[in-house]
């Protein structure tokens, strides 16, 4: 019964896409002229809506009711209905004209492509286009990519392959040459802010502004930020820094910081490794703001704009200089790279925070 409600605001429609007007316009035109190429490559930074565009494109093309509308009026006024079997099938994966592939255990293996090939060799149930969407296509290993290339060389009739990737470099050039490449750019802050206001009506505007800045042009990051409790975590972490002991640079305070930090981490219910990465990235952002403010003294450039007072305070009280902040940033970046290693978390964070304090205490 819950699912019925979900259908009311059917997610996949060009109407629900924030930004990307160029790409949407381009795809719409192809659809109108019935000249859809067999291969697409969507690339651009993570989480800015490439997948939504791909899904919406499929939904627009596959939705039975809408297809009629396209023919009649030359343009789609309403978007996919969300109620016909085709639309529902895209949501729950039972549309036989729609196949979605994403990496499993961080890679797309050749078996998956073989499976796809077997599937595509059958005639479609619905006499319509068939969409194959491969998310994170760069996770295909070499053999899978070559198997896919073979399919792209001789695509089955009326089939559309959409590959989605964040980096063009990791896709075989032979595949790229067979695809229509569409570049996706991060969304502008205003657009994100507007999107956020529409989407989350019950969240206060000021917080949303902060979030729109922090999400760096990505809708999905924004949603994650709003639904998660980022601010809480961030404030907890900031508290670690705005502390007399930190300002004095006492090395033993490093252990206290580490302990507090681990406590924040434990309170989260998500998987520990993901949380750790998330927290350290948050920390990195704070350090970035400290650095930017230190160099420019311009509040407008800060991401964490709501705590600019705290940031000023930290710089002043700890007597930080550019070099020291750079050191801290590098240290943090290096730590983030090592998060996937199998390390004792407590010892690792102990080491990190003590080193973080080293420069301040040497002063």
């Amino acid at each position: 019964m819950i699912k019925n409600e979900r259908l009311k605001d059917y997610k996949y429609s060009f109407l629900n896409i924030a930004g990307h007007e160029k790409a949407v316009h381009f795809l719409k035109n192809l659809a109108l002229n019935d000249r859809i190429p067999a291969g697409f490559l969507f690339y651009g930074p993570e989480g800015i809506g490439k997948r939504s565009v791909a899904f919406s494109f499929a939904a627009e093309m596959l939705c039975k009711d809408l297809n009629l509308g396209l023919e009649r009026e030359g343009n789609s006024p309403s978007g996919p209905c969300g109620e016909c079997p085709a639309c529902r099938g895209i949501l729950n994966g039972t549309n036989s004209n729609f196949i979605f592939i994403e990496p499993k255990d961080d890679s797309i293996r050749i078996e998956k492509i073989h499976e796809l090939n077997s599937y595509m060799s059958l005639t479609p149930f619905y006499d319509n286009y068939r969409f194959v969407i491969i998310d994170n296509a760069s996770k295909m290993n070499a053999s899978a990519a070559n198997a896919l290339l073979k399919m792209l060389e001789e695509p089955p009739e009326r089939s559309v392959f959409i590959l989605i990737t964040t980096s063009m470099g990791s896709i075989l050039p032979t595949i790229i040459s067979r695809c229509q490449v569409l570049e996706f750019k991060p969304l502008s802050e205003d657009l994100l802010a507007k999107y956020a206001c529409d989407r989350f009506k019950d969240v206060d505007k000021r917080t949303l502004d902060v979030y729109s800045r922090l999400s760096r042009g990505s809708c999905s990051t924004l949603e994650k930020l709003v639904t998660g409790n980022y601010l809480e975590y961030r404030n907890d972490i900031t508290e670690l820094f705005s502390n007399g002991l930190f300002y004095s640079g006492s090395l033993s305070y490093g252990y206290i910081m580490s302990e507090k930090f681990n406590r924040i981490m434990k309170n989260s219910e998500d998987d520990p490794q993901g949380t750790e990465k998330f927290l350290f990235e948050t920390l990195l952002l704070i350090l970035r703001d400290i650095f930017v403010y230190f160099m420019t003294k311009n509040e407008k450039l800060l991401y964490n704009i709501d705590i600019s007072g705290k940031i000023k305070e930290i710089i002043k009280n700890a007597g930080l200089n550019g070099n020291m902040i750079m050191q801290m940033i590098e240290l943090t970046a290096a730590y983030i790279n090592k998060i996937n290693y199998n390390l004792n978390r407590t010892i690792a964070t102990d080491g990190y925070f003590v080193r973080l304090l080293k420069d301040i205490s040497a002063k």
Binding site: M1, K3, N4, L7, P85, R88, G89, N92, G93, T94, N95, S96, H114, E115, N117, S118, Y119, S121, L122, T123, P124, F125, Y126, D127, P156, E157
Partner: protein
């Protein structure tokens, strides 16, 4: 909320029919489920049971006492096992299995004092099965169809392979207007099997103005369609006899079962499958023409002898050598590690002696299905295909069934 009462035997039979179309890998949980819908709200109504894995779908009907109309999806394998484990009822006893859906969306299956509560998936998430309309169709005896399928299916290529157009069986209408044959061909590139049976095919919709966009079944079948193995494997599992009504459109083939197989009030059990896209290779060019040398041999002799000798065949290649001599066929094999074997059987042959190396498995697969006593082996050189044809003495009642097996020789 759905509620009906059903006899155990009926239910079990229907459930076992549709099992094959449920998805086993569990990628999409909803496809592991069956869709059960009530048909008409009468004291003696029917339920429609459908299963699909998006490649094939099977629907069947079952008569029940409907208490309340509704729809439900339940895990197919679990439901089958549960019904199977319910105790046998005595002959005169009138016990029914009670199936109902609760407000909370649970499926409750109870029988006597046994109660199972099963989780369900909302019906709205179940893929819509399309009712396919095909104007034209033809009938074939289920027993014959089973025989035809069993005679060729082993030759089709195992899927996952690159040669996807070979991963099914080619159905084609052969013969002229007076005598029509339904011909089934399967090949994996090394061997080919062909089976055909006469069918009474009346062209009902062959209109003079063929401007009709939809090709009718006659044209489609004349050109041939490739049918995936999966649906055929399900069809040969059915034990009952009766007629099968076959209709085809551009995307799908539908087998409707007539006769004793769960058939109520015109509702027929239906097997639907998508077709394999692509072109089937030109199988006619490998069929024997003139200038072939012919050796005649008894089926049983050949089969027994190959089975014996192939004990010492190489494990990977299963290769054996056939020496065609004057009125004798020598079957030999050499295993590099274990030794060698040979056997001679009686045969009718006059002509130049010739040695041909073959895969014994392929031949065994083919001749194990042959009821005829005599075989003709046709061959020409060590490079051209060897052909085995049973000598038809009208063993199959009424209708004529022809079988041909073609095998590519192995290289020396």
């Amino acid at each position: 909320m759905l509620n009906f009462k059903i006899k155990k035997d009926n239910f079990l039979k229907s459930l076992s029919l549709v099992q094959g179309a449920t998805e086993r890998k569990g990628i999409l949980p909803v496809l592991s489920n069956l869709l059960i819908e009530t048909i008409n709200n009468q004291k003696n109504g029917f339920i429609k049971i459908s299963a699909t894995d998006l490649e094939i779908s099977i629907t069947t009907y079952c008569n029940v006492n409907i208490i309340q109309d509704g729809k439900i999806t339940i895990n197919a394998r679990k439901l089958y096992s549960i019904i199977k484990e319910f105790p046998e009822s005595k002959m005169d006893e009138d016990e029914y299995i009670d199936v109902k859906e609760t407000e909370a969306g649970l499926g409750v299956v109870s029988y006597k004092k046994i109660i199972f509560k099963l989780t369900t998936i909302p019906v709205i998430d179940y893929p819509a099965l399309i009712e396919i309309e095909a104007k034209d169709n033809f009938n074939i005896d289920l027993k014959t169809l089973r025989l035809l399928i069993n005679s060729v299916i082993f030759s089709s290529a195992v899927s996952e392979d690159a040669k996807r157009n070979l991963a099914g069986v080619f159905f084609v209408l052969a013969g002229d207007d007076e005598n029509s044959f339904l011909r089934l061909v399967a090949t994996d590139g090394h061997r080919l099997s062909l089976a055909e049976s006469e069918i009474t095919y009346t062209i009902t919709s062959k209109k003079p103005e063929s401007a009709d966009k939809d090709k009718d079944i006659y044209d489609l079948l004349k050109a041939g369609v490739i049918i995936p193995r999966k649906i055929l494997n399900e069809l040969v599992k059915i034990e009952e006899n009766g007629n099968v009504n076959i209709s085809i459109n551009a995307n799908s083939i539908i087998f409707k079962l007539d006769g004793d197989v769960n058939n109520y009030n015109g509702y027929k059990t239906e097997f639907t499958s998508r077709l394999i896209e692509g072109k089937f290779p030109d199988y006619q060019s490998v069929l024997p023409k003139d200038n072939y040398k012919i050796l005649k041999v008894k089926t049983k002799d050949l089969s027994d002898s190959i089975r014996r000798v192939s004990l010492l065949a190489e494990e990977k290649s299963h290769s054996i050598e056939l020496n065609f001599n004057n009125n004798a066929l020598v079957i030999k094999t050499v295993h590099t590690n274990l030794g060698e074997a040979s056997d001679e059987i009686e045969a009718k042959y006059t002509g130049e002696p010739l040695n041909i190396k073959l895969n014994s498995r392929y031949i065994q697969d083919f001749i194990s299905n042959i009821p005829e006593e005599q075989l003709e082996i046709k061959f020409n050189t060590v490079y051209t295909p060897l052909v085995i044809i049973p000598v038809n003495k009208g063993l199959h009642e009424q209708k004529k069934i022809n079988l041909i097996g073609v095998f590519m020789p192995m290289r020396y």
